[in-house]
């Protein structure tokens, strides 16, 4: 297990245990204790940021009473809500921005604790201009990414290298294999 993965797992397990304990206490109260409910929500919210559950939905379906989110990023290479790439076979990630309203998008690849940046670039539309309601994009992953688990974060505004990294909206788990000699 590499360092990146470890930093994700240890605190997560601790929170998962706390979550189980708090959920049990809430269960004992018949779901009525507001004290344990607050604790459960708080720990749950922290676990969600740690596990980086995606917040954008993956595809554009317009429904009668239900509105899709804007600047909604969908990834083609997504399987079980993770992106897996073997850099020897394919270093591209493709996707679509649905309901686009912003004109500038950036992506940033960080460790799972969002403390270290490995790649930060502007997201370019495949057709060269961010001017349509849906825009397809392609990301070329850096060859220098080591095997490990990362976060791929998207931003609908300009991000500078000196800005501190943090979980974005949306972000995806990115699992990279790089067995270069």
């Amino acid at each position: 297990m590499n360092k990146t993965e470890f930093s994700f797992t240890l605190p997560f397990v601790a929170f998962a245990l706390a979550f189980a304990a708090v959920s049990f206490m809430l269960y004992l109260s018949g779901g009525k204790s507001s004290y344990w409910l607050k604790k459960k929500m708080k720990i749950g919210a922290i676990m969600l940021t740690m596990s980086a559950a995606s917040v954008g939905y993956q595809g554009c379906i317009t429904t009668c009473y239900d509105m899709p989110a804007q600047n909604d990023i969908s990834i083609d290479n997504l399987a079980n809500y993770e992106i897996r790439v073997n850099l020897q076979e394919n270093k591209y990630i493709t996707g679509t921005i649905y309901e686009r309203i912003s004109t500038e998008f950036y992506f940033r690849i960080t460790d799972t604790a969002y403390t270290k940046t490995f790649q930060l670039e502007q997201l370019k539309a495949d057709d060269g201009a961010m001017d349509e309601s849906s825009e397809k994009f392609t990301i070329m992953l850096s060859d220098s990414l080591e095997s490990g688990i990362y976060m791929l974060n998207f931003y609908d505004y300009k991000v500078l290298a000196e800005d501190s990294a943090y979980a974005s909206y949306p972000s995806f788990r990115l699992i990279v294999e790089n067995n270069r000699p």
Partner: protein
């Protein structure tokens, strides 16, 4: 292999504190007196667990009734988020407290929809049937705007509020909201009883869209009209600042709706049940003859219409709500009252 259902609407409770005249909920229809209301945490959890087992769901929209009245609603949202589904909520904006909205935002709920039907309490409360509901909505908006969660205001366009739609949009803009969904009154549920008060003539509806389109442009609002509207009644090209959408003929792309008992419907407006996820396979339900009728049956009224592939005869769930067959065009088309 799991069946792919990217997006579903989950009716988490039928209970609601308001009495909206336009409410399309099927249990508000005049003949639904025997309807048994549902509101159960354990049942909701059981159904969601089963749904996630049989289907690859990416997004859940919680609707009702009023979702914030659902038993242990925050825990249901947390469960859904921990299953890595994105979540949005359709609420009436009168039940949740500021801390509830904050919790939803902390759980990563991406979007919440709240009705703002007018710029004044009188019109709004007339439509919701409960005094004080407008003020509660305004207070809710103040709590939500600073949060990470996107807020979409919904205007249900009816005879009562259409003439002042520009003022309503100005008011919405002043609250710091930039996205508005314009839902024309679509007959169904309680709206069947109140149709004479709510129905708009074609001219009135077009006038409302015209005012909205102009106001939206001036205010820089993002406007959409989501309830499928027959193209022979409203021509979207006349209203360039409003994005119009219609239901997809593809079954997986429809706004499929499941209630906490597991009953699956084509959309939250349609009363007809395709089956139950506990007893029927999704494959079977979504490819049943009944389901296919939605794509295959062209209402007689529309047989020679060149616009059919775009329009699909408007909202035929509205026809169903009026106990008409799927062979019947959207009732709005034939509504010509003066």
């Amino acid at each position: 292999m799991k069946y792919s259902l990217p997006r579903i609407a989950f009716e988490i409770t039928s209970v609601c504190n308001l009495k909206c005249k336009y409410c399309y909920n099927i249990w508000k229809a005049p003949e639904a007196e025997e309807f048994k209301h549902f509101n159960s945490y354990s049942q909701a959890l059981k159904t969601l667990k089963h749904l996630f087992k049989v289907a690859d769901v990416q997004h859940v929209t919680f609707t009702g009734g009023e979702p914030f009245l659902a038993e242990r609603f925050p825990e249901i949202v947390l469960f859904t988020r921990l299953k890595n589904k994105s979540v949005s909520i359709i609420s009436n904006g009168t039940m949740a407290k500021p801390e509830d909205y904050k919790t939803m935002s902390d759980l990563g709920v991406s979007l919440i929809e709240i009705p703002i039907l007018a710029d004044n309490a009188t019109q709004h409360d007339t439509l919701t049937g409960i005094k004080g509901s407008w003020q509660k909505v305004v207070d809710s908006v103040k709590s939500i705007v600073p949060l990470k969660m996107q807020l979409v205001a919904v205007i249900v366009i009816t005879k009562i509020n259409y003439a002042d739609i520009d003022k309503t949009l100005q008011f919405i803009h002043n609250q710091g909201i930039r996205r508005v969904m314009l839902n024309r009154f679509n007959i169904g549920g309680a709206g069947i009883v109140h149709q004479d008060e709510l129905n708009l003539t074609h001219r009135e509806l077009n006038l409302a869209y015209q005012k909205a389109s102009e106001a939206g442009k001036n205010l820089g609002l993002s406007l959409s009209s989501n309830v499928c509207t027959p193209l022979c009644v409203v021509n979207p090209q006349h209203f360039p600042n409003i994005r119009f959408s219609s239901c997809s003929p593809k079954v997986e792309k429809r706004p499929l709706t499941i209630d906490i008992l597991g009953n699956l419907r084509f959309c939250n407006h349609s009363p007809s049940i395709l089956g139950n996820i506990f007893t029927d396979s999704l494959e079977k339900m979504l490819h049943s003859e009944k389901a296919q009728l939605w794509s295959n049956l062209v209402p007689e009224y529309c047989t020679n219409c060149e616009l059919y592939s775009k329009c699909m005869a408007g909202c035929r769930a509205a026809s169903e709500q009026l106990r008409l067959s799927l062979n019947h065009v959207d009732p709005l088309v034939l509504y010509k009252s003066t």
